[in-house]
């Protein structure tokens, strides 16, 4: 989501968010998540405004994703007091050189300071996003950076293999493309180190100390229902998936006219729904029933799945090849 940097504009947008939330009065939410770059952009005061219009009576988790440069004692205190229980820090790396090589804004605070402030604020849980496989990060630097992170670890870690997406600056720079072998190694490293420290893998890119799973995300992976508000937000209700217009201008004009901002909708047929369920489940330690696979023998003999009493679970190797494995799902 992008919009021009005008306070007036943001005010309007937040007004609309609140208005859209009010149309959902009949719903009780188990968890709430403020994701992407928007929370950092609109600031904690507006987040508080939005939280105020939500019925949080049955809500067990409120997460907010924040960019390191927007974290501070006052911000954290305000969020905590308005009901936020979990902070997700979009760190990418403790190493500023790596951050810069990924084309991100340089951090104004060290990871040590950030983690100290978050811990001081005493949220129920918190998490850090790491990017794995940057070309600028040598094997040695990676080990050093990982150790530095683990001196002040978050109880929940998201580790994402660097992906080259069409339309990003990285896409145009072949020299910065990650090397497959490196990605593979980084993932193995992170998994074994975290597992050794008592973390459990929750999903392909997520690990946590028991009790620190992200409840909100777990719902996505079990094909649960959710409603997204705002421009470009996605929703799912019992097999119907839809999304709002990605244009902030259109979003504002639709909501202001008390119209729906829905731009796309898809009703999944039985087959797609079943495939989606298994594909999502396969990302988790729960695994999928063995009979949902074609050529399970091949996958097992190649060390991609482990079979445990009729359930197939991805091995570490299988996790980094999960798209390939998913193609064997019926």
């Amino acid at each position: 989501m992008t919009f021009s940097n005008k306070t007036q504009h943001i005010d309007k947008y937040v007004e609309c968010l609140k208005r859209e939330i009010q149309t959902l009065k009949d719903h009780k939410f188990h968890s709430v998540y403020f994701g992407g770059g928007t929370p950092s952009f609109i600031g904690e005061e507006r987040i508080m405004e939005i939280l105020a219009v939500l019925d949080l009576s049955e809500t067990v988790e409120v997460s907010v994703e924040f960019h390191p440069n927007h974290i501070g004692n006052r911000v954290l205190k305000n969020l905590k007091s308005s009901g936020v229980s979990r902070i997700s820090l979009g760190l990418q790396s403790v190493d500023e050189l790596v951050v810069a090589s990924l084309g991100r804004t340089p951090h104004t605070k060290s990871y040590e300071k950030l983690s100290y402030e978050i811990k001081e604020a005493e949220f129920k849980s918190w998490s850090v996003d790491l990017i794995l496989g940057a070309r600028s990060e040598s094997d040695l630097a990676w080990r050093t950076n990982l150790e530095r992170f683990l001196e002040n670890p978050s109880p929940h870690v998201s580790g994402y293999l660097l992906t080259v997406e069409n339309g990003t600056p990285l896409y145009l720079d072949k020299d910065r493309y990650p090397i497959e072998e490196t990605l593979f190694k980084r993932y193995f490293d992170l998994d074994s180190v975290l597992t050794g420290l008592g973390y459990e893998w929750n999903e392909i890119s997520n690990w946590s100390i028991p009790g620190h799973q992200c409840i909100h995300n777990e719902n996505y992976w079990s094909q649960g229902n959710y409603i997204g508000v705002g421009a470009g937000a996605h929703s799912h209700l019992d097999g119907t998936r839809w999304s709002n217009t990605v244009s902030v201008e259109k979003y504002i004009s639709h909501i202001s006219e008390r119209k729906s901002a829905k731009a796309r909708e898809e009703v999944l047929d039985m087959n797609s729904r079943a495939f989606e369920k298994n594909w999502l489940l396969l990302r988790k330690p729960d695994g999928v029933p063995l009979d949902a696979f074609q050529k399970a023998d091949l996958l097992a003999s190649e060390g991609l799945i482990e079979v445990d009493s009729g359930t197939a679970i991805l091995t570490v190797k299988g996790r980094v090849l999960s798209s390939l494995v998913s193609q064997y799902l019926i």
Partner: protein
């Protein structure tokens, strides 16, 4: 001058039968068009270019494939112009057309001079004892050099330069004089109308409403409408439903006498019963002998043809059946390939014929096809003394059982500006050619004659020759027997499994090179799998080259949250769909496109 209709039988003395022969692009179709116009056969308002070429492919490629004939009036005479196919692949058909004539117009482009097919066609005419009227065409073009051409013709073909005419088929200049020369110099037919009927079929095609329509030339006797006909070679009898002449529109007549050329419709359902060279006689008073020169068409080049979409196999079978109605020279037999599924092993008269058939199958029957590399017919002598004919590399017996392999040879005639002699010799040598003769036609032009294995010509020889000589060299060839050669079969193995579609028979000296080329190519084309995939080539079971498609190490959707699910599910479903269309070679999954690309790439 007495007035008469073009359809009237004016008697043999006032009849002339002739063909126009020339090298490709020397203006044969244009001259035919001018003759039709000049003789009033076609109203200029209804004239279109290449009037006698009826198939789209003929017009596009500028090549006549089917022989046509037309009957026109010129002054006090009836002329039958018999248009011959214009490519060496159809040499036999050309010879049958020439057998229906008493003479030819040898048309030579005045700027290009004698080319390979000029020679070949001229020799063919001489073999048939035909009178040759030479005409230099395109004399209005600035590059025309009629004096040089005439002296070349005199020197090379031994035809007197004083009798050579100069024309422009495009503008029509000189064409009336040419027709006068045809009448003066080409002898009249001398058939015996009292003798039992002998009529030569020189072309047949299938019409969905009327069955087979054949072009005929009556040699002796009379073809009468309503009579019972005996086809002497096919040994079948049919009722003659209609006999007629083409003016060029078909006009039914009561009978055709000796010397006349026209068409017959006799309730024949299969062109195989009315092949070029067939002799037609009367069933109740058959001629004792067939006319000489008949032979069964024999395929020279073979390849496997497969539908890209396996579901189209029945459609391909249907299409081949229909195509065969029109083109008896195509042969086909079902075959199965582990890589390509169900298809047909097809035989063709030559490379152009192969291309044309394939193009017609795709175009007229709306099929998407894949063809394996062309192969020739090998004669394999086994150690136990038996001889086996092999046209599919996969049928080649194991090397330890084989005593000797013989391959077909061609005598190739190449005429070229002398500056290209070096590059052509290099090319021919690299294709295992053996120089038989080299002769200067003039200080600037050379004729080269090579003995060269057909297998070396079928792949892309003609293209290589054209590109190395900027199109200035011309090529003609004819079969020249067999020779024994050190030939081996090269196999390509993917993950240890031989892929039949890539197996080829090549000369020992080139086998490793072919193998290496295929493994390198396939390395690029085969998607990475869950495991390392070796790609190997083997000669007689011995591995000679190897590449490895490395296993995938990473293929994961890293982030999968609320907004990602729909898009990523669709991506996976699409990949799953693509996986369905893949062929399994053992444990390896290979997209059909990889086979197509590997078979297409040359050099």
């Amino acid at each position: 001058m007495q007035d008469f209709q073009v359809t009237d039988n004016v008697g043999q003395d006032r009849m002339r039968n002739f063909s126009i022969i020339s090298h490709v692009d020397h203006g044969k179709s244009t001259l035919s068009d001018r003759i039709l116009e000049l003789t009033g056969a076609v109203d200029p308002r209804h004239m279109r270019e290449q009037y006698l070429d009826s198939m789209d492919i003929e017009r596009e490629r500028g090549i006549t494939i089917k022989a046509q004939n037309v009957r026109v009036k010129w002054k006090n005479y009836v002329l039958h112009l018999i248009d011959t196919p214009g490519h060496v692949d159809f040499g036999y058909e050309v010879s049958r057309s020439l057998a229906a004539c008493e003479g030819v117009i040898l048309l030579v482009d005045a700027s290009q001079g004698i080319q390979a097919q000029t020679l070949a066609n001229c020799y063919l005419a001489i073999d048939h004892d035909l009178e040759i009227v030479v005409a230099l065409n395109k004399i209005d073009l600035p590059a025309a050099d009629p004096i040089r051409c005439a002296s070349e013709i005199e020197q090379v073909l031994g035809l007197s330069s004083t009798q050579i005419l100069s024309i422009s088929a495009k503008t029509g200049r000189g064409v009336p004089e040419l027709l006068d020369a045809v009448i003066e110099r080409i002898p009249a037919p001398k058939g015996d109308e009292k003798a039992p009927l002998q009529a030569l079929i020189f072309d047949s095609y299938f019409d969905q409403y009327r069955g087979v329509i054949s072009s005929v030339r009556v040699v002796n006797g009379e073809l009468r409408s309503g009579s019972k006909l005996r086809f002497l070679q096919a040994k079948v009898t049919h009722d003659l439903e209609e006999v007629g002449v083409r003016t060029p529109d078909p006009v039914a007549v009561k009978k055709l006498g000796p010397g006349e050329v026209g068409y017959i419709i006799a309730n024949v359902r299969d062109v195989g019963e009315a092949r070029s060279g067939e002799t037609v006689s009367n069933a109740d008073n058959p001629a004792l002998a067939a006319l000489p020169g008949y032979r069964q068409p024999k395929p020279m080049v073979y390849c496997g043809i497969y539908p890209i979409d396996g579901d189209e196999f029945p459609d391909l079978r249907e299409a081949l059946l229909k195509l065969k109605l029109n083109d008896a020279s195509v042969t086909y037999e079902p075959e199965t390939s582990g890589a390509l599924g169900f298809g047909f092993r097809c035989g063709f008269l030559g490379l152009l014929h192969m291309e044309i058939v394939r193009e017609r199958l795709e175009r007229e029957f709306n099929l998407s096809l894949i063809a394996t590399s062309p192969s020739v017919e090998y004669s394999v002598t086994l150690k136990n003394g038996t001889v086996k004919v092999v046209d599919n590399p996969n049928d080649l017996p194991q090397s330890h059982e084989v005593d000797a392999i013989e391959e077909p040879l061609l005598k190739a005639t190449i005429i070229t500006p002398s500056t290209y002699t070096g590059v052509i010799m290099e090319l021919c040598q690299s294709r295992r050619g053996e120089l038989v003769k080299m002769e200067y036609l003039s200080p600037e032009r050379v004729e080269l004659i090579y003995k060269i294995p057909l297998a070396e010509v079928v792949v892309d020889f003609f293209d290589a020759l054209k590109s190395r000589t900027k199109g200035y060299a011309s090529l003609d060839y004819e079969p020249a027997g067999n020779q024994s050669a050190s030939l081996v079969k090269v196999d390509v193995l993917i993950n240890g499994v031989t892929v039949d579609a890539f197996s080829t028979i090549v000369h020992k000296a080139k086998a490793e090179d072919y193998g290496r080329k295929m493994t390198t190519k396939l390395k690029e084309l085969i998607p990475r799998q869950l495991f390392d995939v070796p790609i190997q080539s083997a000669i007689n079971g011995r591995i000679v080259s190897r590449e490895t498609v490395k296993a995938r190490r990473k293929d994961v959707i890293a982030k999968c949250y609320g907004g990602d699910i729909s898009r990523k599910r669709k991506l996976l479903e699409k990949q799953k769909e693509g996986k369905k269309r893949m062929k399994s070679i053992g444990r390896v999954e290979v997209p059909q496109e990889a086979f197509i690309a590997a078979l297409k790439l040359e050099d």
